[in-house]
């Protein structure tokens, strides 16, 4: 049950956890922009040299996917649960 205690420990300090998370995101982007840390030689395209390119790709890509999926669902794909049981 130590696992449960760990989860509760983190949940009790949710604000701190969120702050650490946000700090981690900032650190990640900063480190990525430092050529000494992340060598962009492995980049496949020119666009990837833009700082925080993949961060923006992740954030915007996720929002875009959710919006597209929801629109697709609303276009008539999502139905009542008993659709096939009528």
């Amino acid at each position: 049950m130590n696992l449960l205690r760990l989860i509760d420990f983190l949940r009790d300090r949710l604000k701190t956890v969120v702050r650490v998370g946000v700090a981690a995101l900032v650190v990640l982007v900063v480190l990525d922009a430092l050529p000494a840390v992340v060598d962009k030689e492995h980049a496949h395209t020119v666009a990837e040299h833009v700082p925080a390119f993949w961060a923006a790709f992740g954030l915007l890509g996720c929002l875009a996917l959710v919006v597209v999926a929801k629109l697709y669902g609303r276009a008539g794909v999502s139905r009542r649960e008993d659709y096939y049981h009528d």
């Binding site: 449960l4 992340v38 961060a55 890509g61 996917l65």
Partner: protein
């Protein structure tokens, strides 16, 4: 020492025969021993061609052991141990028998050196696996099982037709690489059979229809074997076919879009099988050494983490009877270990650094960039966002955290599953991390070993790229949760199975309405146009019968009667009279003789 080659499928099939006879207290040991033996056989197998049998004009090869078949057989037989351990407490022998025959079919197809043997085991898989759905014993699973079987029979027919054409055209049954530039009709048909089993849209709808309907442990087997055996067959037969890149990328995104709006945990995981197999199909299509290695490595990693995810979903189903996120939530206090292991599966499928997907999926994306298929590589990275969103965030959050939507009965029942289920999940989770941390284990098994050893996933750039994509996806997710934009709600999402589900219904409607009406109409026409004249003619025949035939017969009888009557008059029964007559005749005859001679 040269030991005879024993097919691991034979061990599993033999185990199936013996299982019902094993005493109850030894059953669990036996259940683990048989798959372990099969796994041991695969591990110690030397490369070569074994088990060749002459049948009619053909040579069937049951054991083609090379690098490609070994990597798939390795993971299949390993997953058989984990899956059996997961369902170890299931008392019904039939369920274990169905799983083992299913795995035997998969191993048989993988080691098959010719198309006929491949077909034999291919069908064995379909007919064994459907029982893993039917054993759930609900009306939904019964119907889903029939649909699954019908679709697979159609796929099997396509494969068989292709094989027959191929043998007629080439005279050879060998299962080798097809010409992927000038594709013959035979190869198209065979490809159709493979693509159906790989769940490539539009031939994919059977998978998210059937897999969530399986038993809690049956779906763990289902998630591993059918699609990955098809990936093996595609690697063997159609490597470098450009069409597969397009199909693979479409699959990867198609599965993600459906998973995002899906409410049922196990159906969400099923859509992510479609999505993840999309990476493998794209890898086969790219066809370079790195890409084929990537397809094999990803299949290997996928079997473990997808099995783990289905074990997590199965644990929730087994312990609560519920898999809809709209009816779950807040279970971390009740099922913390199931949560932790499912999260490991979610991080592995999302290709988080230090987890298995990171070292396998990236090969395929890298191969795409290397071949200047930029659109494919970027779209596969986009699909990776949806993968983490669903498996790493949505399911763990809405099942184990978030708002508690559980019915009181669900909350009461919920607790961590039995030891064997947790042990199976623990082993799968440990392997997911092990593969992600210690790359030589997996890379040494890959078909192009040198290319694999030359590939290094842990470059600063790749780690940074992946962490940015995934962590900013997490940021977007929590923002959406905060805005209450993605709360799960009840509902089903229509997919292409709609056509045959409602097609079936349309058929029934046709049968009930127009066909029934036509039947009634034909009956009326028959009555008016056939029956009535028939009866009239029958009446005519009766009159003819009475008047002519009966008359003739009666007349004949009357004539015979008359003769009889006259004869009767001549014979009145008086003995003396008769004797007198007799003697008189005799005296006349005697007198005649005397006078004449």
């Amino acid at each position: 020492m040269i030991s005879p080659w024993i097919h691991p499928a034979l061990v599993l099939l033999g185990g199936c025969l013996v299982l019902p006879l094993v005493p109850r207290h030894l059953k669990r040991v036996f259940l683990l021993l048989v798959p372990a033996l099969a796994y041991g056989l695969v591990l110690t197998m030397a490369r070569g061609e074994y088990g060749q049998v002459h049948f009619l004009h053909w040579t069937l090869t049951f054991g083609r052991v090379d690098a490609l078949s070994l990597v798939f057989a390795h993971i299949m037989s390993l997953m058989c141990i984990i899956g059996t351990l997961y369902g170890l407490h299931v008392d019904e022998d039939g369920q274990h028998v169905a799983s083992w025959i299913y795995v035997a079919g998969s191993l048989g197809a993988i080691f098959a050196g010719d198309l006929l043997t491949l077909f034999l085991f291919w069908e064995m898989m379909a007919f064994a696996s459907v029982f893993l759905i039917w054993f759930r014993r609900t009306p939904e699973s019964s119907a889903a099982g029939f649909r699954y079987l019908l679709v697979h029979v159609a796929g099997g027919l396509s494969l068989l037709a292709g094989i027959v054409l191929q043998i007629r055209a080439t005279g050879s049954t060998a299962f080798t690489a097809f010409d992927v530039v000038h594709v013959t009709p035979a190869a198209w048909l065979i490809l159709g059979g493979f693509l159906l089993n790989a769940a490539v849209p539009p031939l994919h709808a059977w998978l998210p229809d059937a897999y969530p309907a399986g038993t809690f442990n049956g779906s763990v087997f289902l998630s591993a074997f059918t699609t990955k055996t098809a990936v093996y067959a595609l690697c063997r037969g159609f490597a470098g076919m450009e069409l597969l890149v397009v199909l693979g990328v479409v699959m990867a995104l198609y599965g993600v879009i459906y998973a995002i709006i899906e409410n049922d945990v196990r159906r969400l995981f099923s859509y992510h099988i479609v999505s993840q197999v999309g990476y493998m199909v794209a890898g086969v299509g790219i066809g370079t050494q790195l890409a084929i290695n990537g397809a094999c490595a990803h299949a290997f990693a996928h079997i473990l983490y997808k099995g783990l995810l289905f074990m997590g979903g199965g644990a929730v189903l087994h312990m609560t009877g519920e898999t809809r996120m709209s009816e779950l939530g807040g279970l971390y206090k009740k099922m913390p270990w199931a949560f932790a292991f499912t999260l490991v599966g979610g991080l592995s499928i999302s290709a988080f650094p230090l987890f298995s997907g990171f070292v396998s999926k990236s090969m395929i994306v890298q191969a795409g960039f290397d071949q200047h298929l930029l659109w494919a590589a970027f779209l596969l990275n986009l699909a990776a966002i949806g993968t983490f969103y669903c498996n790493g965030l949505k399911v763990p959050y809405f099942v184990w955290f978030g708002k508690n939507h559980c019915a009181p009965a669900v909350t009461e029942r919920a607790k961590d599953p039995p030891w064997n289920m947790l042990a199976a999940m623990g082993i799968a989770a440990a392997l997911c991390v092990f593969i992600g941390v210690y790359t030589p284990y997996l890379y040494n098994l890959l078909p192009y070993r040198e290319a694999a050893m030359a590939y290094h996933p842990y470059t600063a750039y790749h780690v940074s790229e992946t962490l940015q994509i995934l962590l900013f996806t997490a940021l977007a997710f929590f923002v959406l949760v905060r805005l209450r934009k993605i709360d799960p709600h009840r509902g089903v999402n229509l997919d292409l199975d709609w056509f045959y589900r409602l097609g079936g219904r349309a058929f029934l409607w046709l049968a009930r309405r127009p066909v029934q009406a036509a039947d009634t109409g034909v009956g009326e026409i028959y009555r008016a146009g056939g029956l009535v004249p028939l009866m009239k003619s029958a009446a005519g025949v009766r009159i003819f019968d009475n008047a002519v035939i009966d008359g003739a017969v009666d007349g004949f009888a009357a004539a015979i009667g008359g003769v009889g009557r006259r004869l009767r008059l001549a014979q009145r029964g008086a003995l003396q009279e008769n004797l007198t007559l007799m003697f008189a005749v005799a005296a006349v005859l005697l007198l005649g003789f005397v006078l004449l001679f």
